[in-house]
Symmetry: C3
Subunit: 154 residues, 3 copies
Amino acid sequence: MNPEEKLAELGLKLPPAPKPAGVYKPLIITGNLAYVSGHGPLRTDGTLMTGQVGTDIDLEGGRAAARQVGLTILATLKEQLGSLNRVQRVIKLLGMVYATSDFLEHPQVINGCSELFVDVFGPDKGVGTRSAVGMGSLPGKISVEIEGTFEIRS
Amino acid sequence: MNPEEKLAELGLKLPPAPKPAGVYKPLIITGNLAYVSGHGPLRTDGTLMTGQVGTDIDLEGGRAAARQVGLTILATLKEQLGSLNRVQRVIKLLGMVYATSDFLEHPQVINGCSELFVDVFGPDKGVGTRSAVGMGSLPGKISVEIEGTFEIRS
Amino acid sequence: MNPEEKLAELGLKLPPAPKPAGVYKPLIITGNLAYVSGHGPLRTDGTLMTGQVGTDIDLEGGRAAARQVGLTILATLKEQLGSLNRVQRVIKLLGMVYATSDFLEHPQVINGCSELFVDVFGPDKGVGTRSAVGMGSLPGKISVEIEGTFEIRS
């Protein structure tokens, strides 16, 4: 199955592709790489998942936010590329968690996004390189922000 | 008008291209991409704009710092590439704000840099992908640090 | 001398190449670039160097952690590429320090990694672009995390 068929089979509901919150583009293609701007956890109703992991929300809440960021990135990829089938593979994710100073489990949080990409793009092409780190603050107190680089078919 | 003509028309005064503050190069070209190291807000007198956004300085102070980072990046691009006219377009910026834990408006801060790039490179080529996030600390307490990737002409 | 000969001459002992701590790959090659995931300071005994720079450890402790991250990245490069001699040059490092809010010397910390790369890859090819910044938190309270991009020979 290709990514679009996978998306349908899993019954995943994507949020609307977000409008830029500043002076930037959601996605830019150069060569065979698509660079994707930092995305937040946009719900299908247009609201954002907010709160610091470790105080306002717990690990599971953080994982859910990271998964929602993944769905939001899929919405942008689909809108900008025309089809998720143009995604050849995940190259790189920078997973940024709005967390307390003593939070320990950033990889487990960002897995919420990475596991979604495995479901949609497969266990090889869906897995890229990654950093999962803790930010002092994020725009509008969103719980997770993720930017990515994807290899695409022309 | 090309970027060099735009720079002159706007009467923008660039700071000196900064010397590396550690073991790194300001800019490296591979293929048609120029990678630019993290830059701080260097004033034309050689001092840096410092202070945490949300305590020491406010949103407008942060925006001014981000704009000054943009001018500093332009100084590096001009020195390393010979001319700003070799910049084909902005691909990606990582905008890092030294902010309080509850700061909300990172995109508005980093717009200070992005709007400068629109002025110099134009409303399409001057706008790339972007993340705008909050750091726990930055070198020498600079208010903003931005790294970038640019597509260039050979 | 090539990098493998340099490594032997310096008597550097690499830790084991780390297993991914989440859903990601240690390294991915696209074109002539190798993207390397965020790495922590893994000791040869398999433990990690932890603690916040500015409270738990000082600048020298941070530098030592950054150097250990560099050794860990070398372990991954060697395992994934077969030989360090396939590394053409360092393109980019993102050096992330787990530091207090008022820490000032991130570049000096990350130099611990960069100086190691100079020793192994040489004073030109071992020096890339870089950002050195302070994170609010890092996985398992590691002191330093660094991700990188390297140009490689095919």
